[in-house]
C-alpha cells in the first residue's frame, strides 16, 4: 500500500463518482431495461421479455435501414473527413507553408455548436424559394433539387454537413503529426533526389500512419452514435428513411414510449461502438508493433 494511496483516492474520487453516477450506472440501467417492456408509467411494473426487444429490433425494417444509413454515413465521413483533413494539412505543411493561418479558418466549424451547424446546412439545402444552394444553382439554369426529400440525397447532404463541420479537427491532428516527421529524413530524401510528391508518399504519410489510424477510429466511433445533425436536418424523415440507430432509439423511447426497445437500440449502439473501438485499437497496436 503506497503511503499516498489515501491522497490518490481522494483526488480520484470526485471524477470517479461523477463517472459512475453519470455514465456507468445509466449504461448498466439501459442494458437492464433492454430486457423489459415498460410504457413509461411509474405505476406499471417492468415486464420481463427476455431477448424480445432485441428480436424486435433486428426484425424491424426501420432498424435495419438505420444500420445501412449509419454505415453509409460513417463511410462517407471516414473517407472525406480524413482525405480533406490530411490533404489540406499536407498542402499547408508542404506546398503552402505560407498559409498556415488557414488552419484556424478550417478549424472554425469544429467549435460551432452542432445544432447551429445543422440548422445552417438545413437552410442551405432547403428547396426553392428559400434554399441557398438551389438559389445559387438557379443562376446557372439548374432546376431546383429537393435535397433533403430523397432518402439517398438526404443522407449524402447530412454527411456533407458533418464532413464540413468535422474535417478541421482531423486537419489539426494531421498537422501536429506532420510537424513530428523528422526534418533530417526529409532533407536526406531531398538530397537523394525525391520530389515533393515522393516525399509525401514515401516519408510523410508512412510516418503519420498512427495519426491517420487515430483519426479513423475517432471518426468511426464518433459517427456511429451521431444524433444531433440527423435529428435537426431531417428528424429521420422523409417517411422515416434517414433514421440512424441513435435517432431511432430516441423516437422509440421518448416518442412512442417503447422504453425497452429504445434501451435495446442503445445497448446495440454501445456494443457496436465498443467493438469497433476494440478492433481499431487492436489494429493500431499491431501496426505499432510492425
Amino acid at each position: 500500500m503506497n503511503k499516498n494511496t489515501g491522497l490518490i483516492i481522494s483526488f480520484l474520487f470526485p471524477a470517479l463518482a461523477f463517472y459512475v453516477l453519470m455514465a456507468l450506472i445509466p449504461i448498466v440501467y439501459s442494458l437492464y431495461f433492454a430486457f423489459f417492456d415498460w410504457p413509461g408509467i411509474h405505476t406499471v411494473p417492468l415486464k420481463f421479455v427476455g431477448f424480445g426487444n432485441f428480436v424486435k429490433m433486428f426484425t424491424s425494417p426501420r432498424f435495419l435501414l438505420s444500420l445501412k444509413n449509419v454505415a453509409w454515413f460513417v463511410f462517407l465521413n471516414v473517407v472525406f473527413q480524413t482525405l480533406l483533413g490530411y490533404g489540406i494539412a499536407l498542402l499547408l505543411g508542404t506546398y503552402l507553408r505560407g498559409f498556415k493561418q488557414f488552419k484556424l479558418l478550417f478549424f472554425l466549424p469544429v467549435v460551432l455548436p452542432m445544432t447551429a451547424t445543422s440548422l445552417l446546412w438545413k437552410f442551405i439545402f432547403l428547396p426553392n424559394p428559400t434554399g441557398v444552394l438551389n438559389s445559387l444553382l438557379s443562376l446557372f439554369g439548374v432546376d431546383a433539387v429537393a435535397w433533403l426529400l430523397d432518402a439517398q440525397t438526404a443522407m449524402n447532404c447530412i454527411a456533407a454537413a458533418n464532413i464540413w463541420q468535422g474535417f478541421g479537427y482531423h486537419l489539426i491532428i494531421a498537422f501536429a503529426a506532420i510537424t513530428t516527421v523528422s526534418t533530417d529524413m526529409i532533407e536526406a530524401a531531398t538530397i537523394d533526389g525525391c520530389n515533393r510528391f515522393q516525399r509525401v508518399m514515401k516519408i510523410i504519410l508512412p510516418s503519420i500512419r498512427n495519426a491517420i489510424m487515430i483519426s479513423i477510429i475517432l471518426n468511426v466511433t464518433g459517427n456511429l452514435k451521431n444524433f444531433d445533425i440527423v435529428f435537426v436536418m431531417t428528424e429521420g424523415g422523409p417517411n422515416n428513411l434517414t433514421h440512424v440507430p441513435s435517432t431511432l432509439m430516441y423516437v422509440e423511447a421518448f416518442k412512442y414510449d417503447h422504453y425497452g426497445l429504445g434501451s435495446a437500440i442503445a445497448a446495440f449502439i454501445f456494443a457496436l461502438s465498443l467493438l469497433v473501438t476494440g478492433v481499431s485499437t487492436k489494429l493500431l497496436g499491431s501496426k505499432e508493433n510492425v
Binding site: P127, G131, A144, D150, P238, N239, K255, Y256
Partner: protein, 429 residues
Amino acid sequence: MKRIGALLLVFSLLSAFVFANGDGESTQTITLRMLTRTAGADPAVPLWEDAIAEFQALHPEVIIQDDSVNQEAAYSNIIKTGFATGNLPNFFYDGGTVGMVKYAKEGVIQDISPAFDDAEWYNGFAEGTFDNWKFDSFGAPGYYAFPHAMSPEAIVYNKKLFAQAGIEKTPETWNELLVAIDQLNAAGIVPWEMGGAALWRTGHLHNYIMYKWCGVQKAIDLGTRQAKWTDSDVVETFQFIKDLKARGAFRENFEGLDYDMEKSLFLAGESAMVLNGVWFAGEVSALENSEDFGTFHFPYFEEKPEFKGHMVCYPEGYYVKAGMDEEELALTIEFLKLWTSKKIQARKVKELKMLSPRVDLGLTSEDLNEVLVGYSAVFSDSTMLGSDIASYDPLSEVGDQARNSVIGMLLGQSAEEAAASVQAVIDNN
C-alpha cells in the same frame, strides 16, 4: 459585545418570525403545480396571471406554482418524466385525447366527472364538448379533461389573389376546389401553401379529407380496430392528396418547406390559401391588410353529402393527476373551473381574439373579427366534429406513421403503399 449584539439580532429575528403567525400556530400552505404551454411572451400569460391572483385571493393558503413552458420538446420531456417518476403537476395541458387512455387505465389521471355537478359551469359548454375526453369505450370509464380550447380548422384565403384569378365564389365542393386550383395556376398564382416538412401540415389535410370522404366515425373505427387503413375508402383519402399535388395545388418541392415558411409565404401574398387552425387567426388579424383575408369551410365531396357537416376541430384539455388528497383535488378542480369560467373565457375571446369552448359568453360580432367569425362558423355548420385521426388511436406510432406515409406517398409511393405501411404498424403491434 459583538457576540451579544449578534445573539440579540438572531433572537429578534426568530421572535418576528414566530409572532408573525399571530398566536404562534403555523398556517399550512398547499402548493398546486400547473404545467401549460402558455409561457414567456405568449399573449395569454397575463390572463393566467390574473386567474392565479384571483384564486390566491380566495385561498391565501394556496400557492400556485406555474411550471409552464412554451417549447414543445421541453414540455414533452417534463410531462414524460412526470409520468415515469410519478412527480406530475396537479394539472397539465395536453392536446391529445385517446393517447391519454393508457394513463387513465393505469389510474394516473383523474376522472373529472364529479365537477359536472356544478350545472351553471357545466351547461356553459357546447354539447358534447367533454365527450372528447370520455374514454369509456377504451376501458377507462369517465371523463378525463377540462376543455382548454376547441380549435377548428378552416381554409384561410387571400381575397385579392382569388379575385385576380377570377374566382368569384369560394369553393364549396371538392370539384369546385379543383376548378379554383386550375384558375389560380392559370393566373400564375401558387394555389395552396403547404409546409410539408412539418409532417402535421399534410397530416391535417389528410384529417379533413378523411372526414369529408369517410366520416369522423371511420377514424374512431380505425382506432378501435373495427376498420383497417387498407380499406378502399381510406386508401382513396391518400389518393386525393396525391391528386392535389398532381393538379399543381402546391408549390414545387413544398415537401421541404417548414411551417414557418408556409405561413410567411402565405401572409406575404405569395399564395392563395392555406388550411390552418384557429390558432392562426391571431397572425392574420395582426396584419395591416387583414381585411384581405377570409375563411371558408373545407370543401365536401359531392358524392358524400352526408359528410358535408363533418368538420375538424382539435380539442385541447387540462388533465388532472390522480392520487391527490381530497382538499388538494378540490382546490385543483376549483382552479380549473375558474380558468374555464364564463368570466375568464369571455376575456380570452375579447382580449386575445381566441375562441373558447364555452357557448354562453354572450359575444357580439364586435368581439370577433372576420377571420374568427369564419372559424366559429365551423361549429355552427358542423354535424359532427372530429379531431386528429391519430388522437383516436391508442398507439402513438400509428399517427406518426400515417403522417410519414402521406409524405412518403407525395414523394413517390402509391396510395396503397402508404395505407399499407400504416396498417403494418398496427399489425406488428
